[in-house]
């Protein structure tokens, strides 16, 4: 795993730069189109409220995947535990809304700060761990967090295994939007902001330092880069991104429970990052869509296919998911974003 990751990231880094600049011109029309969706889809009835929830979830997972991409793709630290930060963000939002009656938007900065702190603190010991040791340490975090949330003496605010129900806010100023459409716009706005910040971060001096550390830590430190500082800060920022995604998830999903954040979520985020393109910002978006669509509907799809072709055996619910992953990894080892870039170049070159 470690070797393939570095291989793809090295190859992907140069590409992704060009891709971003190449796409910068048409990214805004896309965002405007997405922002107009509630008007188009809502009025024509093409997209139901549930449809908007699905879209919002895709964007939320895209932010979470982006958090991991910053850490793993651009800094070379592997995390199998980002579900934990997602959970912390979600619970910060849910508890503040449920217990302290905070407005939903005010919980986002708090979730960001809390997750940054947790990530930063976790990043300190993680400095001593490399590669798969770090992966295991973060994995332990992902396994531990749901148990903490169930812990008896925290029940007065986490509500134990039963989780917390919260309610989605109605749109303000009497806007003619449903709650789901409104939250979709909020989520979209937050995502645009966070992707913009991430891009600027990566294009800056600090961004170059991060990739230098990934490509050759010793060389980077010889050049005067404070490796420990960058590694811990990017761990914090990565956790911040994923934590904000968690907080948004809690608000739009209106429910959190320890079982929402089992370690499978961490794996899902990692798979999303790898499938999307581990060192590419558009890859984060593709990864987010992948997490929501494939993960959630793979079993339904498996069932449908089993029924459609009258297979004599019962396929396991995850069969399609597994097949999709294997095919993708063989055909697009640099993720879907990397694969598309290569394809585009081949078409243009010929």
């Amino acid at each position: 795993m470690a070797t393939t990751t570095t291989a793809t990231t090295e190859a992907g880094a140069a590409d992704s730069k060009r891709v971003q600049f190449g796409r910068a011109r048409w990214i805004w029309p896309v965002i405007i189109f997405l922002a107009l969706l509630p008007v188009i889809g809502g009025k024509t009835g093409l997209i139901s409220n549930y449809g908007f929830l699905q879209l919002s979830l895709m964007i939320v997972y895209a932010i979470a995947v982006l958090g991991l991409i910053l850490l793993t793709g651009f800094n070379g630290q592997i995390s199998l535990g980002h579900g934990a930060f997602f959970a912390v963000g979600a619970y910060v939002a849910a508890v503040l809304i449920d217990q302290a009656s905070w407005p939903y938007w005010a919980t986002l900065p708090v979730a960001a700060i809390v997750c940054f702190s947790v990530g930063y603190v976790f990043g300190l010991p993680a400095l001593r761990l490399e590669g798969h040791y770090l992966a295991l340490a973060t994995f332990a975090l992902a396994v531990a967090v749901p148990q903490f949330l169930k812990y008896r003496h925290f029940e007065w605010f986490t509500n134990g295994v039963q989780g917390i129900n919260i309610f989605k806010p109605d749109p303000p100023f009497g806007l003619p939007l449903s709650a789901d459409q409104w939250m979709y716009l909020i989520v979209l706005a937050v995502a645009v902001l966070m992707f913009w910040v991430a891009r600027n971060l990566l294009d800056s001096r600090s961004g170059r330092a991060l990739t230098a550390i990934r490509d050759h830590t010793m060389a980077a430190s010889t050049m005067g880069i404070n490796v420990a500082h960058y590694k811990t800060v990017i761990f914090g920022i990565s956790a911040l991104y994923t934590g904000v995604a968690g907080a948004l998830h809690a608000i739009i999903f209106e429910f959190v429970s320890p079982d929402s954040f089992r370690f499978e979520l961490s794996i899902a985020i990692l798979v999303g990052a790898v499938v999307g393109g581990i060192a590419s910002l558009p890859g984060a978006v593709i990864g987010g869509v992948f997490v929501q669509v494939i993960e959630k509907y793979a079993d339904a799809l498996t069932k449908k296919i089993t029924a459609a072709v009258h297979l004599p055996i019962d396929l396991e619910p995850w069969t399609i998911y597994g097949i999709a992953l294997i095919v993708l990894m063989y055909t697009m080892p640099m993720g879907i974003a990397g694969g598309l870039t290569l394809l585009w170049r081949r078409i243009k070159g010929s």
């Binding site: 409220n49 549930y50 295994v161 929402s260 089992r262 959630k296």
Partner: protein, 409 residues
């Protein structure tokens, strides 16, 4: 409940009159989402996969029952389309699937969604949306609070009452009881346990060990050893089928022979007693309100024969010893009855009203004498049980009907 017979009769008559007028006023058909002249859409979630997948058979039974109803011409001429999703007993998944059912599939009502944690997760949502969450497949006492949650109703006897019945039985029959409890750590488990403790009253200190497990755990072996080592001579087993089977088996393996009380949700011969091993389950006691399909004494009763015919025709190949099939059959009968009475007024409000006006409804496959009763203030349809003991390869009833007033809200 018996005290208010007069009022009951009166409201029954009124309910009947309402039903009749609704039936006559055919021109004034009223529909909410999910109901039309030809169709009634019903939504459902069930664990077809995961640790509680033994309950999957309930969803399949309901589906088959509606198929039978449709083959017979539907309900008041309308075909039922039954949409069921797998939630794996995981509340977040339930939330998502239920939102899909309500907002995208636009079902008229949600029926028999399974499990206390999943139903808890959607409890507020359903009541905010004002969509019936009817006859849920869990016995937690919180489903019977019509004042706060007028759109949610349970069906089976509530866990707290059942727990109290076991407690009373222990105090009356076991000399110097030292009680060990194994509990699934969620609202379902706690509801049983709290009712049990309340039933013990001042003897609550007779509980020498309370061990818990999570529904996501692979086994409960260490908890069983813990309970044995605590010196318990009575075992109250608050577990879902997979764990119930494990517990019965493990108790035998470690040579622990307490007076074993099993909760009703795991009374299935096929999914609990058989995998546990019949020889290991001898003497286990359980409270029942349904006829057990393996009990030979019902073989000649009319409702058993009807159930058997249904099973043979619509569920071929399914293990008829599985109590889930009887459960699904009886609970779906109750819903169909409610929908029949709703006539052409298929609004969500009217459906809740009909569901809350059942008077001494005889439901097939319930034990003789146990009837369904509801009212505007009584959202606990079934409130009586009989105790049975496992003998050979089947349950043997040994007590009379134990009926309980609903816990007042």
């Amino acid at each position: 409940m018996r005290r208010t017979t007069r009022r009951q009769v009166l409201s029954g008559v009124v309910g009947l009159a309402v039903g009749l007028t609704a039936g006559q006023a055919a021109a004034q058909k009223k529909y909410d989402d999910g109901a039309t002249d030809t169709e009634i859409k019903i939504g459902h979630t069930n664990p077809y996969s995961g640790n509680a997948s033994a309950y999957g058979v309930i969803g399949k039974t309901i589906e088959a029952y509606f198929k039978m109803i449709n083959d017979q011409g539907g309900i008041n001429g309308r075909k039922v389309s039954f949409i069921t999703y797998d939630d794996g007993y995981a509340p977040p998944k339930t939330v998502e699937m239920v939102r899909k059912l309500v907002e995208e599939d636009k079902v008229l009502l949600l029926f028999n969604t399974l499990g206390t944690p999943p139903n808890t997760a959607i409890h507020k949502y359903m009541n905010a949306k004002k969509v019936p969450q009817l006859f849920v497949a869990t016995g937690a006492s919180k489903w019977g609070h019509p004042k706060e949650f007028p759109w949610t109703m349970g069906w089976q006897p509530d866990y707290a009452t059942e727990g109290a019945i076991y407690a009373k039985h222990i105090l009356a029959n076991v000399k110097d009881p030292k009680i060990g409890v194994l509990m699934q750590n969620d609202d379902y488990g706690k509801d049983y346990f709290n009712g049990f403790k309340a039933g013990l009253g001042k003897d609550a200190d007779k509980i020498v060990q309370l061990s818990t497990y999570e529904v996501t755990d692979p086994t409960i072996d260490s908890q069983m050893i813990q309970l044995k080592n605590a010196g318990a001579n009575v075992f109250f087993n608050i577990t879902t089928p997979k764990f119930a089977a494990q517990a019965i088996k493990k108790a035998a393996e470690i040579g622990w022979k307490p007076a074993h009380y099993l909760n009703n949700v795991s009374d299935s011969v096929a999914t609990v007693m058989k995998p546990a091993g019949f020889e290991n389950g001898q003497g286990v006691m359980v409270a029942q309100y349904r006829k057990d399909a393996t009990d030979a004494q019902w073989a000649n009763s009319a409702d058993y024969k009807a159930w058997k015919a249904f099973m043979d025709k619509y569920m071929p190949g399914v293990d008829q010893k599985d109590a889930g099939t009887v459960y699904g059959y009886a609970v779906t009968f109750t819903l169909v009855e409610v929908l029949k009475r709703a006539g052409d007024n298929l609004t969500r409000e009217n459906i809740m009203k009909q569901a809350a006006s059942l008077k001494d409804l005889e439901v097939p496959m319930l034990l003789p004498g146990i009837k369904v009763n509801t009212s505007a203030t009584d959202f606990y349809p079934i409130q009586a049980v009989r105790l049975s003991r496992f003998k050979g390869e089947t349950w043997e009833l040994f007590s009379d009907i134990i009926s309980n007033e609903s816990p007042s809200q």
